[in-house]
């Protein structure tokens, strides 16, 4: 396993309130989540000597209200003992978590806190509105066609998937409904009190065929945080550790236009289908080689769902089923909380809210620790968690025992 001699583990988690247009500023939501995670881990702010986040997106540039940098948080909360910190420049908070795991394994710090602070943008949509009648530079190849938003790249990827393998919309309804059931059991979830039926899914308004409203994640204000340490220190803490037994980062495919999160939809790159396959496959390759585990050893998975169909790409690329099989794999109750392979039991981005993957990491830890309450799955010895997609992001296998 990764860092065999003194394994790294997640030992505490914390959430802020999650909502839309919250009046509490983002920096204070970050304070709430980070202090909650520290208290949950049973340590004090003086113990914190590592800090990391992915601070960019969805908007800037005001530190503390539109994003929360390491400097802002460490300074504001008075963490005086930080010896290691990182802000990942591209991708997803998962890569910040991966870097924290490496820093802990190298004894560069002892207790690292990692958070993701997401603001609900004023206009209600992450997508920039393009009103200009001039389309300069690379936008000359997109805006004249009415191509702008990221869904204009993900919807064709999902369309290709459906056409190649024979998947239909009702297959993906299963995922949206299963995740909503999890959210209904998650007191932190944005949709904690709102059920969703397959009929509602099938009748939802279309955004870009074949993606409907419920295939899109729900933007929120909210922050989630985790505390990580090593086994030697974890044994003295209040909760059982969720060991990081495997780690992996997305590779970069040759010959496909590189995507950045801010450039989504504005560039040319139409081969998102292959890019997502490549991301899931490369993360998977490292997960299995670093953990020594196989997909059949894993009991559940928290798979990033910026869009519902992302989950198909993860399931196939990570090796939980074969290519073109995911849409059937998720049927017949398999992915429900009491199913044989639960997925996104907290509700995911679709129903807990778009914490940009951090919610997935918190849930994976809680399940492995046996602390998921009414969402607790029967067996959680090894749980996979991945967040990102395109050519970015990282994942881990969290495990009950160090293998």
């Amino acid at each position: 396993m990764f860092s065999k001699d003194n394994p790294v583990a997640i030992v505490g988690v914390g959430h802020s309130q999650i909502g839309r247009r919250l009046t509490r500023p983002l920096g204070l939501l970050a304070k709430d989540a980070v202090l909650a995670a520290i208290a949950d881990a049973g340590i004090t702010i003086d113990d914190v000597d590592g800090a990391a986040t992915f601070p960019q997106f969805p908007e800037g540039p005001r530190d503390g209200t539109q994003f929360v940098s390491v400097a802002w948080l460490v300074n504001s909360l008075g963490f005086e003992n930080v010896t290691w910190w990182a802000e990942t420049q591209s991708g997803n908070v998962s890569t910040a978590i991966e870097q924290a795991a490496h820093a802990l394994a190298l004894n560069r710090c002892n207790y690292a806190v990692v958070w993701r602070a997401m603001s609900f943008v004023a206009g209600g949509s992450y997508q920039a509105t393009h009103s200009a009648l001039e389309a300069p530079d690379s936008s000359a190849f997109t805006l004249p066609y009415g191509k702008s938003a990221s869904i204009a790249e993900f919807a064709p990827a999902y369309m290709r998937y459906m056409k190649l393998y024979g998947a239909r919309r009702e297959h993906l309804a299963t995922l949206a409904v299963a995740q909503r059931k999890g959210a209904n059991l998650n007191p932190n979830a944005y949709f904690r009190n709102t059920p969703l039926t397959a009929d509602e899914y099938m009748n939802a308004r279309m955004i870009a065929d074949p993606m409907c409203l419920y295939d899109c994640d729900i933007p929120v204000d909210g922050v989630a945080a985790i505390v990580m340490t090593r086994a030697d220190r974890a044994k003295d803490l209040p909760h059982p550790p969720a060991y990081v037994s495997g780690l992996g980062q997305a590779g970069i495919p040759k010959g496909i236009e590189p995507r950045s999160i801010s450039g989504l939809g504005s560039g040319i790159g139409p081969r998102m289908f292959e890019q997502m396959q490549h991301t899931a496959k490369t993360i998977g390759k490292s997960l299995w080689s670093t953990s020594g585990l196989r997909p059949s050893d894993v009991d559940a998975a928290m798979l990033y769902d910026g869009w519902g169909p992302d989950v198909y790409f993860w399931l196939e690329g990570l090796g939980f089923c074969g290519e073109g099989e995911a849409f059937e794999f998720i049927q017949k109750g398999r992915i429900d909380i009491d199913g044989e392979f639960p997925i996104n039991t907290h509700g995911g981005n679709l129903s807990e809210g778009r914490l940009h993957g951090m919610g997935h990491w918190v849930e994976a830890a809680l399940q492995v620790q046996g602390r998921a309450g009414r969402r607790q799955i029967k067996k959680a010895d090894n749980v996979a968690v991945v967040s990102g997609l395109m050519n970015l992001g990282s994942g881990a296998i969290l495990s009950k025992s160090p293998h």
Binding site: A128, F141, P156
Partner: protein
């Protein structure tokens, strides 16, 4: 997709100029590596296939097949708000199928009948002082 007034107009960079000049003559030219023949829509700094640094502009057939497509119901491009729903098509080019270009799909067709692999052919739509590349289904379907 007939009205071009009020739609975003391409403002080509100098380096892309040959692509846009050719479209004005209803020809499709792409950047092509001199040493190995690899195509790209825009000129690259280096060729990913052979690391060559010399490129030329070469005309292609304009033929390709549908790689994927979508129909946009909610748009973030203001000038297209009255056009929803409209179709975006990703086209794998005959000369190099790994090169996929995105345009609208012109002509009369039933959206539900679109499939991957259907043959398409380049078409040309005036837009401001430029002409933009478009595609339409090849063979048998109505051309507007």
């Amino acid at each position: 997709m007939t009205a071009s007034i009020g739609k975003p107009v391409p403002v080509p960079t100098e380096i892309d100029r040959p692509y846009w000049d050719a479209l004005r003559e209803h020809r499709v030219v792409l950047s092509r590596c001199v040493s190995c023949g690899w195509y790209s829509q825009r000129r690259k700094m280096l060729c990913q296939e052979c690391h060559g640094e010399e490129f030329t502009w070469a005309e292609i057939s304009g033929r390709g097949t549908i790689y994927s497509f979508t129909r946009v119901h909610q748009t973030w491009v203001t000038a297209f708000q009255d056009d929803t729903p409209y179709v975006l098509v990703s086209v794998a080019l005959e000369e190099q199928p790994s090169l996929v270009l995105v345009t609208n799909l012109l002509g009369d067709y039933d959206f539900e009948s679109l499939e991957l692999g259907l043959p398409v052919i380049a078409d040309f739509e005036p837009r401001g002082n430029e002409i933009i590349l478009q595609f339409r289904l090849a063979g048998g379907t109505d051309v507007q």
